[in-house]
Amino acid sequence: MSGRIGRTELAARIAADIPEGAIVNLGIGAPTLVADQLPADREIILHTENGMLGMGPAPEPGHEDPDLINAGKQPVTELTGAAYFHHADSFGMMRGGHLDVCVLGAFQVSERGDLANWSTGEPGAIPAVGGAMDLAIGAKAVYVMTDLFTRAGEPKLVETCGYPVTGLGCVTRVYTDHAVFDVTEAGFAVTELFACNTVAELSERTGLRLVDATGGAGAAAAPEETAR
C-alpha cells in the first residue's frame, strides 16, 4: 500500500484549487512549480514580493532583463496588466490581507497550523528569513506544499513544531505527496488521498490523530476556505 505522487502532479493539484481572479504568491523553491500548472482558462495574477503583480514566466534565453526578477532573483517577464510598486507597498499587500493565496514550503507544520520553514536552528547556520514570516501571516489562505516525510522518514506534520516557527496558526491546508490535509479545530483532516494511501496508515506513520474528511471515497474535497 501507500505510494506517492510527483512534484509536478502535486503542483497541478494545487493549481486546480486556485480560483479565477485569485492573487497568488508562490514561495521560492517547489511552490514555483505551481505557476506552470495554472489553468490557462483562468485569470490568476501572480504577486512577487520584490514589487510586482502580473509576473510572467521565465524569458526566452538571451532576453533576460536584470531589472525584472522574482523573489528568488531569477529573471521573469511581465504580463499584460502588470504593475510595479515599492517594497513597503508589496508587503502591505500581504499583511493588509490583500493576497488570496500563498503557497509555501515547510520544514514542519503543526496540527494547530503553526509553520516552520525559515530556520533549522542548527548552530553555526547563517539565519535568513526573507518574506516568509510576512507571507505566513498575511495571505487569506496559506497553502503548504511539501513531502509528507523527510528523506530520513520523519513526518513533517507534527503535534508541535520542533524547528523555530515562521508563524503561529497560519496554515490553511497542506498539500503533500501522500495526501491533502486541512488544518481544522480538531487537528489535521485528510480531504484527499493520493496513490494507495489510507487515513489509518497515514495516522500510524505520522503518529497523528487524523480526521477522515475524504467522504469515504478519497475524492477531492471542495476547495472552500477552512477556519484558520
Binding site: 514589487g51 532576453h63 532583463d65 515599492h86 530556520s119 518574506g131
Partner: protein, 259 residues
C-alpha cells in the same frame, strides 16, 4: 536655483562619515547602486552600519564593500544566498554583526521612519525567535509585535532617470527599496542612468518626488538598456534618445508611451 545634481560621483559621496548608518537600495543585484558603492569604497568611510535586503552577491557592489571590511553591522532580511560567500566568511569569522529582520518589517520600519511614525504594531513575526523581547499586544483578537522605525544617515539608491530637483523614476522590479529608503535617510543620494532636464519627467509618473532626494548623479545607461526602447525610456524621450527601432524583447509589453 535648486540644483541637486552632483558634479561627480566621488563628490556625491565625499562627506559620508565613519560610523554612518547607510541604507543601500536593491534586491539582490536589481536596483543595487553599484557605482555609488564603488565610490564609497574609494572614499574610505569605515565602521559602517548597512541596511539592505541582502548581504551582497558575488564579489561586486555591496559584497565588495563588505570585503573591504568597511562594515561593522548589517541589517537585512536574507543574507544567506548561493553567492553570498563574502558575507558568509565574515559572519562565520565573527567579523560582522547581523540584525535579521523579516522582509516586510524591514520595509515597514524604513517606511515608518520616512513617514514620522513613532512605532507600529505588526502581526509579522509574532511568536517567533525574531520577536523575542519585543513588546506585544492583542488588538481585535489578533496578536501584534511593536516595531520601531529604521532611519539612516545616508541612503544610496539607484533609479532610471532623475532631474535637478531630485524627482526620480525607476524601472521594473529595480524600484524595490528605493522610494522608501529615500524617505528615511537624512541624506539621500540617487544614481541615475540619465539626468533629464526639469520638466521632462511626466509629473504623473514621478515615483519619488524630489523632496526625498538630496543629490542626483548620472552614471550612464545600463548596458542591458543600450539600443533598446527601454534605453530610450531611460531618458524619457530626452535628447539622448536612441534613433534605433525598438528591439523586440520578451518584456516588450512594458513599452511605455511618452508624450
Amino acid at each position: 536655483m535648486i540644483q541637486k545634481t552632483a558634479g561627480s560621483i566621488d563628490a556625491a559621496v565625499a562627506d559620508i562619515p565613519d560610523g554612518a548608518t547607510v541604507m543601500i537600495g536593491g534586491f539582490g543585484r536589481a536596483g543595487q547602486p553599484v557605482e555609488l558603492i564603488d565610490a564609497l569604497i574609494a572614499q574610505g568611510a569605515r565602521d559602517l552600519t548597512i541596511v539592505n535586503n541582502n548581504a551582497g552577491n558575488g564579489e561586486t557592489g555591496l559584497a565588495a564593500l563588505l570585503a573591504a571590511r568597511r562594515v561593522r553591522k548589517i541589517i537585512c532580511s536574507f543574507p544567506r544566498q548561493s553567492d553570498s560567500q563574502v558575507f558568509d566568511a565574515l559572519y562565520r569569522a565573527g567579523d560582522i554583526e547581523l540584525e535579521l529582520v523579516p522582509q516586510g518589517n524591514l520595509a515597514e520600519r524604513i517606511r515608518a521612519a520616512g513617514a514620522g511614525i513613532g512605532a507600529f504594531y505588526t502581526p509579522t513575526g509574532f511568536g517567533t525567535e525574531l520577536a523575542v523581547g519585543k513588546e506585544t499586544r492583542t488588538i481585535d483578537g489578533r496578536d501584534y509585535v511593536l516595531e520601531h522605525p529604521l532611519r539612516a544617515d545616508v541612503a544610496l539608491i539607484s533609479a532610471l532617470a532623475g532631474d535637478r530637483w531630485g524627482n526620480l523614476v525607476y524601472r521594473k522590479t529595480a524600484r524595490n527599496f528605493g522610494p522608501i529608503m529615500a524617505s528615511a535617510a537624512a541624506m539621500t543620494i540617487a544614481q541615475v542612468d540619465r539626468i533629464v532636464p526639469l520638466g521632462e519627467l511626466d509629473p504623473e509618473r514621478v515615483v519619488t518626488p524630489g523632496i526625498f532626494v538630496d543629490r542626483v548623479v548620472e552614471v550612464g545607461v545600463r548596458p542591458w538598456l543600450r539600443d533598446t526602447d527601454a534605453g530610450a525610456d531611460a531618458a524619457s524621450a530626452g535628447p539622448a534618445s536612441t534613433h534605433e527601432p525598438p528591439t523586440p524583447t520578451s518584456t516588450s509589453t512594458s513599452k511605455e508611451q511618452h508624450a
